[in-house]
């Protein structure tokens, strides 16, 4: 059961990674990174039970607590960029 759950999480990680790699806008990427962090926390907790070492749940806890800070930093980054005179540069949509 844990094995199939972890495989399913791996598949969703791939989907999030595809969104992060393809974009096209920065917001897609930010969301994808956030989702990837959530999936990593889930993967770690499922694999901890799969290995029979539930005390390793600490790691998933660390991610669950800290992952939020990175997204906040992104928010603040965009706020600062839009406050600067050359506003709009940061909102630049990246297509390639």
């Amino acid at each position: 059961m844990f094995l199939s759950a972890s495989l399913a999480i791996l598949v969703t990680m791939v989907l999030a990674l595809i969104r992060a790699l393809r974009g096209p806008t920065v917001y897609d990427r930010v969301l994808a990174v956030n989702m990837f962090g959530t999936k990593t926390a889930l993967l770690l907790s499922v694999v901890a039970f799969l290995y029979g070492r539930p005390d390793f749940l600490d790691l998933a806890l660390a991610y669950a607590l800290i992952n939020f800070v990175g997204v906040l930093a992104v928010l603040e980054f965009f706020q600062k960029q839009s406050a600067k005179p050359e506003a709009g540069e940061a909102q630049d949509v990246d297509r390639h």
Partner: protein
């Protein structure tokens, strides 16, 4: 199964790395670096290296993204593409890859009990830890006591790195221009504010747990310092730079960086004074095993204080400038 997970995650890791190198947009590169770090931590975890995975989680998930973004705010967000010398670089990289792949043919199979790394000092550590130090987490025993010199060196590397960043970024103090909205941090955004204030005490609590529980589970000073620093960076992001600097002044941060390293060294010197060797904790208590445990707790505290102070002062060195 480990092989399967490992191969899968490593493939994703390579894909992410290639994408990081190829993208000209540095903001995208920072976002992909966050994913790279998450994948790396998952990989460490799959290979059963919980302490390393926790370090990667603590540093990679929060602090590096924040510091990269602060650096990005000071520079341009696009890479200047250079066309010259790419074939030479490509040649060097290709040769290195071929040599590295050739070298892996001599590598023992993953998990092979006869591999040299499992035959050298590792069995001795595993045997002697319950007897000499009596703590369940052998990694902490190795880092704190058996290889205490190495860890002391690492703490001084952190100290020197922090001094270096301070020299480069703090060389000319930035002009104190009147500042507008950005001084407020994210104070006027309700959702981050509420959620962040809710999370802050738990992050600090979890950091303290990792600090003092490192002898029993994954964790220790490095991880705890990074987690607590992340919590304080969250506070700085929410309340604005000046409020954070008022809460913990820069001089206090520098005192933390130097004080942690000093505490570690003093524990070592105390060993000499009490009649043992440098960093020999057995003499700290009448019972040598208890002495070892006290010594490890104290040096872990020193490591945690230094790492926390260093990460925070590097963050502020960036944040004050933009």
């Amino acid at each position: 199964m480990v092989i399967l997970f490992g191969l899968f995650l490593l493939t994703l890791l390579v894909l992410t790395a290639v994408a990081i190198v190829r993208t000209p947009n540095l903001f995208v590169a920072v976002m992909l670096m966050a994913i790279f770090s998450l994948l790396m931590a998952a990989n460490f975890f799959i290979l059963d290296a919980a302490d390393v995975a926790l370090t990667e989680a603590a540093v990679g998930a929060g602090v590096t993204t924040v510091i990269f973004l602060s650096a990005l705010a000071l520079t341009a967000d696009r890479e200047r593409v250079t066309k010259t010398g790419t074939y030479f670089a490509m040649g060097v990289v290709s040769v290195t890859v071929v040599v590295l792949i050739y070298a892996t043919f001599d590598k023992p199979v993953l998990g092979d009990p006869n591999a040299p790394v499992h035959q050298h000092v590792a069995p001795w550590y595993l045997e002697q830890t319950p007897e000499l130090i009596d703590i369940p987490n052998v990694v902490t025993a190795v880092l704190g006591s058996f290889r205490g010199y190495d860890t002391l060196g690492e703490v001084f590397v952190v100290l020197v790195a922090c001094i270096g960043v301070q020299f480069i970024l703090g060389a000319s103090p930035p002009p104190q221009a009147p500042r507008g909205q950005d001084e407020q941090g994210l104070r006027h955004h309700l959702v981050p504010q509420v959620v962040g204030r809710l999370l802050f005490p738990f992050i600090i609590l979890f950091g303290l747990y990792v600090q003092f529980h490192g002898e029993y589970g994954p964790g220790g000073g490095f991880q705890a310092g990074a987690i607590i620093a992340t919590g304080l960076i969250l506070h700085a992001l929410l309340e604005g730079e000046s409020a954070a600097l008022k809460a913990i002044p820069p001089n206090t941060l520098l005192a933390m960086v130097a004080g942690g390293a000093l505490l570690y060294t003093l524990v070592g010197v105390l060993g000499i004074v009490l009649g043992g060797n440098f960093l020999d904790y057995s003499v700290l208590h009448s019972n040598p095993v208890t002495g070892q445990q006290i010594g490890i707790l104290m040096i872990e505290a020193g490591v945690g204080i230094t790492v926390c102070g260093a990460l925070l002062s590097i963050f502020h060195a960036f944040a004050v400038r933009d």
